[in-house]
Amino acid sequence: MFFIHQTSCISPQETFSNVKMDLLHVSVHNKLLAIEPAYTGVAVGVLRRMGKASRIGMGTAMRLIQEGAAPDGLIIGTANGGMEESIRFLKQIIEYHEDMLAPGSFVQSTANAIATQLSMLTKNKGYNITHVHKGLAFENAVIDTAMLLMENPGNTYLLGGVDEIASYNYIIEHTAGWYKKEYTSNQDLYKRNSAGTIAGEGAAMFLVNNKKEQAIAELTALTTLHSTDKELISGQLKAFLKKNVPSGESINLFLTGENGDARDADLVASCESAFGNETTVARFKHMCGEYPTASAFALWLACYLPIDQPLPEHMLKKQGTTNKNRTVLIYNYHKNVQHSFMLVTKFK
């Protein structure tokens, strides 16, 4: 599909300035909040008007744009981008009875605020889009980017996934049973036998093009599914492997979006059963929490993990016999109905 050259990530863990994989920050009240760096290169006034999703999106993207070449377009996936600003404006409407409202939050409330503020900050007049299809928002941004590179083979694009924990969404999803009722630390996320997970947020950005030289990794295939049928999903996983992994070769690392929700245990187990002893199985949602574009965090992780070093203990579910992380298959799912497989081959 395309080659990944630079990556950047703001998450609840130490992933931005000085990456520390062995350190695991602990969740508070069943939430993992993104750790924001001191932002540089953006006026304080502009920063103050931005919601958190915009700030972390801008922070991760600006690093890549400042370090690398100006991208030919900006492709963002976000389910909740602008949601907290929407809530702020909604409260104003109700609490001030639709009178004398300041438009600031409304302007920042549109999901396209992240991608478009980036275009303004960097004077980027190229292709600019925001995909918002919940648990497949980032995957659609990936498909879009892959198509752009088929259409414009010499170009470089900025691809990203961003979401924040929006207060109303958290309350409503908690009520609906998507988050654990009992206090659960991310350190024990996979040990509980109860329904629900913990909430998270983050931003991950990638500079991508068609050039193999100097690339960190290649995203070789992606597929998306909409289903609650675990047999169908594990069947599609096997078909995906058959189509995309040459016979005689195997996946080194199966990185899953297992999130501690006991109701998904069978689904995850049936997907894991597609792999033999050589494949290492690892997890990432105890690091970033559950959010619709968490697959962008997983892709960042797949790019970052060194090929020849063991994984941090906290990620490991089952150590495979291969001891390499060269080929990585990411499986993510959101609320049982949206699923994706992304296949990554690493060079560095």
């Binding site: 909604l90 009178d99 409503i172």
Partner: protein, 396 residues
Amino acid sequence: MNRVFITGMGVISAIGNSVAENQLGLLHGTCGITKGTRLSTRYSGLLPFGEIAANDEALKEILSVTDPGVTRTTLLALHACKEAIADAGLTGAQLLSPDTAFIGATTVGGMCLMDELYNDANNPANNSAFAPFYDCASVNMYLQKYYRLSGIVNTINTACSSSANAIMYGARLLRNGLANRVIVGGVDSLSRFTINGFNALHILSDEHCAPFDKDRKGLNLGEGAAFLVLEKEADTNGKKVYAALSGYCNSNDAYHPSSLSENGDGPFLAMNGALKMAGLGSTEIDFINAHGTGTENNDEVESRAMIRLFEEPPAFASTKSNTGHTLGASGAIEAVYSVLNLVNQEVYPALHFKEPILATRLTPVQVHTKKQVRHVMSNSFGFGGNCSSLIFSKAG
């Protein structure tokens, strides 16, 4: 490369519940914008809106929807989808097939139920049936389930250009071999959220909007949905074909969150890019369905960008004077209208226009005219500088 053809269309707006009704409305210069809305807002009776006559119960009955928690936005989308799918004659097997993609756009989504969202968030013990469905994706996730789609499904939100980008994305899935047929479009319903947002920006007119008029006072919000079925030329042997989607381009104005740059760089780049892709010279465009919201900023900048590109701009008009500004639906609704220009070889009048803007002196089409129409450009510009232009051409 394989051309992309439009083989089915569906639309619901303030001027009609079908493509045929909308065509008649355009032909007769019907204005669907009236004062008052069934929404409980202090602006009901004070501001005009392009509201669809059918209420939620009526829509549910027409559509035989009995599920709880289906929002008006989803109902409008389903209404337009059903018409488009039947029109294209898509079979059940085709809908189920993984090579059928579905791309919908919306900016409001389930947020049309702003008060329900507020209550559900503040009263967790007693949540409504709508609780899981306030986001934008909920509309298309409902449609995915309704039609049991298994191909690529997506939701796009680039503010007012959302559904133009949904059409582009679908066409690109066809051209890049990721789908063999796509259902593309957009929807938005009226909401207290958007009414108050645009009102706070002081860009809602208390009169009928008058796109490109010297004394225009702002836009009127509307609601609606439109979907189109796109297929590759090679797959349309013997099928009814309305038109070809021959060009498209997405560019950003990179200027301001809620207004366009003085010279309209974003609009210029989008229109120019679409022309280049279609391989057309600027004299070959016969009509432009302009974005033309009726705001001070948009109409003057769009005029300036048209003059920059065309020198002598072709015939143009904005159908937002018929329907109001339907936000995330407008690109798709106006795509259907552009195809109607081609199919019927006619252009429809702009309403409420009196005198041209002094700085740019452009006059939109004011009477229904039968004429040769080979290529139509449709513009959509959104907040955040998200600008997209599409070009539709006669298929023959």
